[in-house]
């Protein structure tokens, strides 16, 4: 079979899209990789290495850089950044995609489409009781990642001071029936506690508190890490009821203690926001009528050559996204070879 003529459209240049494109290229196919931003790598490219004293914490963020390195030397992938999908319409046995690229509109038929458009971090503004955007020194986990990655330090947004008391609030936008998010975002315990360990290591004086419902097992090293974690971080199995600003731009929260309600305050409070379906999902859904799963993310429809890989299919870690994308490579290749 002449593989060079078998075009596959891979939408999204995050870790899943990169993995799928690389896998298909290795199989000898000619995938097109479309990214709307001006760089590949997606969310994970903005995440920090969370190693503590030379010991990897298994967050997997660096795997994106490895994929990017591999991509740079893979000629069989046609990569378009700053490119938007205008529309996708059925054509014959495949799909006709109109791509808005920096060099103008391109119309190209594809036999298969792999949706790797990823997720969108939950926007805490949509739950005003969280005080985000209203109360100073409340930030999201993603903002903390970026801060650590770019500056290597943790500082209060309001005055650039080093936080002495810091708190993480888990499950923000996850495990939330009211928001229509009947799922655990899977990554938040991992990223929050890994960052917390790194911060504790760099700022031993800083007290860390973690408000949570259930701590999820993340990474193979969890059994080694978890038993000692209580010594580094104060775990409080309560979700705060109210968030407000106090003297010196400290963040106040009200917390149930069992026999009363206590007011606690912190220099910096981090909302461990979860994953929500990407806003792009609806368009792809409409164009390709891809099925939506119980959690509200997309599912593959192999019969019509529509595949979903990575966090477009549901909340998952970088490592799981890679697994999912590797699996998708096999399914896509199977489809192209005319095999179920």
């Amino acid at each position: 079979m002449d593989r060079t003529s078998e075009d596959v459209l891979v939408i999204g240049g995050g870790i899943a899209g990169l993995t799928v494109a690389l896998g298909l290229a290795k199989e000898g196919w000619r995938p097109w990789l479309i990214e709307k931003e001006d760089r590949l790598g997606g969310h994970a490219a903005a995440y920090v290495c969370k190693a503590v004293e030379g010991e990897c914490q298994r967050c997997g963020a660096c795997l994106v850089d490895l994929a990017l390195k591999e991509h740079a030397s893979e000629a069989r992938i046609k990569t378009l950044v700053n490119a938007a999908i205008e529309r996708i319409t059925p054509s014959g046995s495949g799909h006709l995609a109109a791509l808005e690229t920096p060099d103008g509109l391109v119309e190209q038929p594809f036999r298969a489409v792999v949706l790797c458009h990823g997720f969108t971090p939950f926007d805490p503004r949509s739950r005003t009781n969280l005080g985000y955007g209203r109360v100073p020194n409340i930030m999201t986990g993603h903002e903390l990642e970026a801060m650590l990655k770019v500056t290597g330090r943790v500082l209060r947004p309001s005055d650039g001071a080093v936080p002495r008391q810091m708190a993480f609030v888990q499950c923000v936008g996850s495990r939330n029936a009211r928001l229509g998010h009947p799922y655990c975002s899977q990554v938040c315990c991992g990223y929050a506690l890994r960052m917390a360990r790194q911060i504790k290591n760099r700022l031993p004086e800083t007290d860390l508190t973690c408000f949570y419902m259930d701590i999820q097992t993340y990474g193979k090293d969890f059994p080694d890490v978890w038993p000692g974690l209580g010594g580094e971080i104060r775990f409080v199995r309560e979700i705060p009821g109210d968030y407000f600003s106090l003297e010196g731009d400290r963040v106040g929260v009200l917390v149930e203690t069992g026999d009363a309600v206590e007011e606690l305050s912190f220099d910096l409070l981090v909302l461990s926001v979860g994953m929500a379906p990407s806003p792009d999902q609806d368009r792809f859904c409409e164009w390709l009528n891809a099925p939506v799963g119980a959690e509200g993310f997309l599912r593959s429809d192999p019969d019509s050559g529509v595949f979903v890989a990575g966090s477009a299919a549901g909340p998952m870690s970088i490592v799981d996204s890679i697994a999912h994308a590797r699996a998708a490579v096999r399914d896509v290749a199977g489809f192209l070879e005319g095999r179920k």
């Binding site: 005003t128 009781n129 209203r134 407000f244």
Partner: protein
């Protein structure tokens, strides 16, 4: 200009006539046509705890009356607002409930279709009159009178029965009205806290304790008056202020004014017409400062 079925409920005509008087005075100045419907009865709220079905039925009856009169309802009491809005919401969204309600209303020769809209006086002011017209109606400069706002609960919540209305976690509506009439809303801790009115029946100590917390914060914030939009809240902060002072051996002397009373002052309405002499905590000094005279 629309006409509104003016819903007073139980407490206001008997216990908070100053609220009714000031609201009528302000409505007149702003050209709001409010119509009294003699048959309006209890909104149902006080029956909710014992028998919510019966409570809903009382609300449905009032809604039926408004429908028959072909008018939307304008309320003053926040509890009435939520009870009536909640029932209106159910009647409009739950066909089975609508049928059930009509089955009972038929027994007194009435019926409803669930179309009557219910809004609080303050909401009508913002949505139908508009802040510009309110601004134009001002004749007295309040010189940035520092006012603490108590929004209360049922004025905003449950938010699902008030689509398109104020955010319960960060309300702004009354603030905007007060700014429009030249007062200065002052932020204070516990702004969103409940007055405790609904607990009064079950446990007076708890209720007074809740009201005390609010008065402490309001005093600390240096507000000259506390602005309310519900007679229950007024009962807690105004009528009970003395007993709170005695119980907790403290002193506030914070005049508690209904929103239309403050608006009336800015519109140059006479103290008596606004019922300001009926407020429990004396308001003379406050109005004196505002009007620059001593009556």
């Amino acid at each position: 200009m629309n006409r509104y079925a003016f819903f007073l409920g139980c407490t206001i005509p008997a216990r908070s006539r100053n609220y009714e008087m000031s609201a009528r005075a302000v409505a007149k100045r702003l050209g709001l046509e409010i119509v009294d419907i003699a048959d309006f009865g209890c909104c149902g709220f006080p029956m909710k705890a014992t028998d919510q079905a019966a409570a809903g039925l009382l609300a449905a009856r009032n809604l039926a009356l408004a429908e028959a009169a072909g008018m939307d309802i304008c309320t003053l009491c926040s509890a009435c607002t939520s009870m009536l809005s909640e029932e209106a919401h159910r009647l409009a969204h739950d066909a089975g409930h609508l049928a059930e309600a009509n089955r009972h209303l038929a027994g007194i020769g009435r019926s409803c279709s669930g179309t009557a809209r219910v809004r609080h006086f303050a909401r009508v002011l913002i949505e139908d009159v508009g802040l510009d017209r309110i601004r134009e109606s001002i004749t007295v400069d309040l010189k940035g009178l520092p006012v603490a706002i108590h929004y209360g609960c049922h004025y905003l919540k449950p938010s699902e029965i008030y689509p398109g209305w104020d955010d319960p976690e960060a309300p702004k509506s009354i603030e905007r009205i007060l700014e429009a009439i030249g007062a200065r809303p002052v932020a204070y801790a516990g702004e969103k806290d409940c007055c405790g009115g609904a607990v009064l029946v079950a446990d007076e100590d708890t209720a007074l304790g809740m009201a005390k917390g609010k008065l402490d914060h309001v005093k600390a914030a240096g507000a000259k008056t506390l602005c309310v939009v519900c007679p229950f809240c007024s009962v807690m902060y105004d009528d009970n202020q003395k007993s709170i002072e005695n119980k907790f051996e403290t002193r506030y002397q914070i005049p508690v004014l209904f929103l239309p009373q403050i608006m009336g002052l800015a519109m140059g309405v006479d103290r008596k017409e606004l019922g300001l002499n009926m407020n429990v905590v004396k308001t003379k000094q406050l109005t004196g400062e505002i009007l620059g005279q001593d009556e």
